[in-house]
Amino acid sequence: MAQSELVKKHRVRELLVALLPIAALAVLFGALCLVVNIKGYRLDMYLKIVFNEGVVLAIVATGAIFIYSLGSFDISLGASTLFSATIGVMVYNASGSLPLMILTIFGVAIGCSLLSSVLASVFHIPVFVTTVAMMSVLSAVAAQIITTNGGALGGIGIPATVVAPLDNVPFKLIALAAFALLCVFVFDFTKIGRRLKFLGSNAVCAKLSGIKVNVYAIIAFVMAGLGVGLGAFLTLVYTPSVTPTTAGSIGMNILVAIVFGGMPISGGSRSRIYAALVGGFSYILLNNILKIVIDSGAGYGISQIVSAVFFLAVVYVTSMNYRTKLLPR
């Protein structure tokens, strides 16, 4: 009797902890509305800014969940987004064709992801180091192309009229929902997702059960590539030009967003697609709230400190159920 009560208590606690990131998102949304109203700013404008910034991060992070579920992580996704968008712009300027540009962006993004996965799985290089190398190469090549063709400051771009009809909330919402549904389907309703989680939980056991690690690693990277492609396209829709700093912080923000959304960095069975969506928008909401509240140049530093403390606090609370005697590694 006492034991069943304990189990019940533990389950309730687990549920509360699992709901915490969603509650944090709701609180942050409420806080944004409140501070915007207090300051007398236009709420619709701020909601649009948050949505436009959050949608790219949420999409790229959603794709990245497949890699993170394996217990690996990829910090080259920001550079990959920049590189795909750069090549997309070059192709549009050479051909004048929007469909060709979109195809190129997706092709390049998936190609970059495949290259990372091949280097990691075929040549047995640690995934993280592969992505460090890829990050350097992709951002350097993109910077070279941009500075050669348009100058580092102004960058290169496509005519705004080309993507203007797509720069609206309904289109981006449909793109986000479609990609998220695809990811939920693959991750939660097919053997691919189950096996990825199994590999992330216990790679040795998964291998001994006959799961081909290389195949699933490649699938994970392809899914992440799809997210990068869509993210790169939406980046161009929002701002139809690229500079060497475009999407520069996405690679690291994905890490923060996923952890913020309540997913453990070690991946495995507790990996959730919604973590990227919830975490991505929460992080952008938090940053915008702090920007409004601390409204000065030096305030950027203070808002980053507050944002980091909030991040650590959320992670601390969401990981309360998984404390170990040994120090985590």
Partner: protein
């Protein structure tokens, strides 16, 4: 049974990579009719850069070899250099002895920053990679707030700092002192033995009575102190400190240490890993000096690509070394059979 290496194998294993690096890079310069060390300044910068790379590599490897990934190394270097530069300037107004005071303060402040980072890790008990993300953001935020996002120039431009970077002797001395200290701490003390035990078997080591928390904290303190030195050396090298890095802008500093860490680890199999880091840092500095010689032909982007490709090629070799040896042996035995 562990196979003992002969002195010849040890020597070849230790010196093969630096010899190859030197031969290729000096050869390239000679082929183009250029000299790598044309002026004494180029020698000074060579030693200074080697010191920066070696110390960063050591700081990165201390925690990484124990499975603790630390993104905050760059942020620690920048914050410690900003704070030490400002305090030193407030005390001496750029007068004589500024460099020594800034170096000592940098080490102390770096150690404190490392300790805070370590305390956060052992206190929160969340994975070190996540703690380091938070710490990076906090330290970058503090740096930005202290400097108002501007470059720190006046505080690091004085005769004392110029005298430090104006000769190769001081950086060489720093290399020797750090190398000797790190070798002593990690290879000759109880702390070092405990560190290795924890590195190779965390659970077993803890069960045998090794205290993991103090060991981890000391590791973070040492990393912080080392990054304090790196911050100081970087400030003397560029005569400025960028206080405007936000949103993980400072993590690039640690990426320069990945290739030397793997090269150093490889060399360490034949001698000692700390010596390996020094040799690897010298190789990286040679490469950097070659880039400087060919600065008109090789852009900054191209340099990044070359560095990344070298990292990938070396890792492909390192990760498939056993396979390559097997292939080579099979070919050899096949050719013997043919004979």
């Amino acid at each position: 049974m562990i196979k003992r290496q002969s002195i010849g194998t040890k020597l070849i294993g230790t010196l093969a990579i630096p010899a190859a690096f030197a031969a290729i890079l000096f050869g390239l310069c000679a082929a183009e009719g250029k000299t790598m060390f044309a002026t004494p300044i180029s020698v000074n910068y060579f030693v200074l850069y080697a010191a920066i790379v070696m110390i960063t590599t050591m700081a990165l490897s201390i925690n990484l070899n124990s499975g603790r990934f630390d993104f905050s190394l760059g942020a620690m270097a920048v914050l410690s250099s900003v704070l030490s530069a400002k305090i030193t300037y407030a005390l001496l107004q750029g007068g004589s002895g500024s460099a020594v005071v800034m170096l000592l303060l940098g080490v102390v402040i770096g150690a404190v920053l490392g300790l805070l980072s370590g305390l956060l890790y052992v206190g929160l008990r969340i994975p070190p990679i996540i703690t380091s993300l938070g710490v990076t953001l906090i330290y970058e935020g503090v740096t930005f707030t202290v400097t108002s996002g501007k470059y720190v120039n006046t505080e690091v431009r004085n005769a004392s700092m110029s005298a430090f970077s104006g000769t190769w002797i001081w950086p060489a001395l720093v290399i020797l002192v750090v190398l000797a200290l790190i070798w002593f701490i990690f290879d000759r003390t109880k702390f070092g033995y405990d560190y290795k035990a924890l590195q190779n078997g965390q659970k077993v080591a803890v069960n045998t009575g090794i205290r993991e928390v103090p060991n981890a904290l000391v590791c973070y303190v040492i990393c912080g102190a080392l990054m304090g030195i790196v911050g100081f050396l970087s400030a003397t090298r560029s005569s400025t400190i960028n206080g405007g890095s936000l949103n993980f802008g400072s993590i690039g500093i640690m990426f320069t240490a990945f290739l030397p860490m793997f090269i150093g680890g490889y060399i360490g199999r034949f001698s000692n890993d700390k010596l390996g880091y020094l040799i690897a840092a010298l190789c990286m500095s040679l490469l950097n000096s070659t880039f400087a010689v060919f600065s008109n032909q090789i852009s900054a982007s191209m340099q990044s690509i070359i560095n990344a490709l070298l990292l990938v090629i070396f890792l492909i070799y390192l990760s498939n070394e056993g396979l390559l040896k097997k292939l080579f042996q099979r070919k050899q035995s096949a050719s013997c059979g043919e004979r």
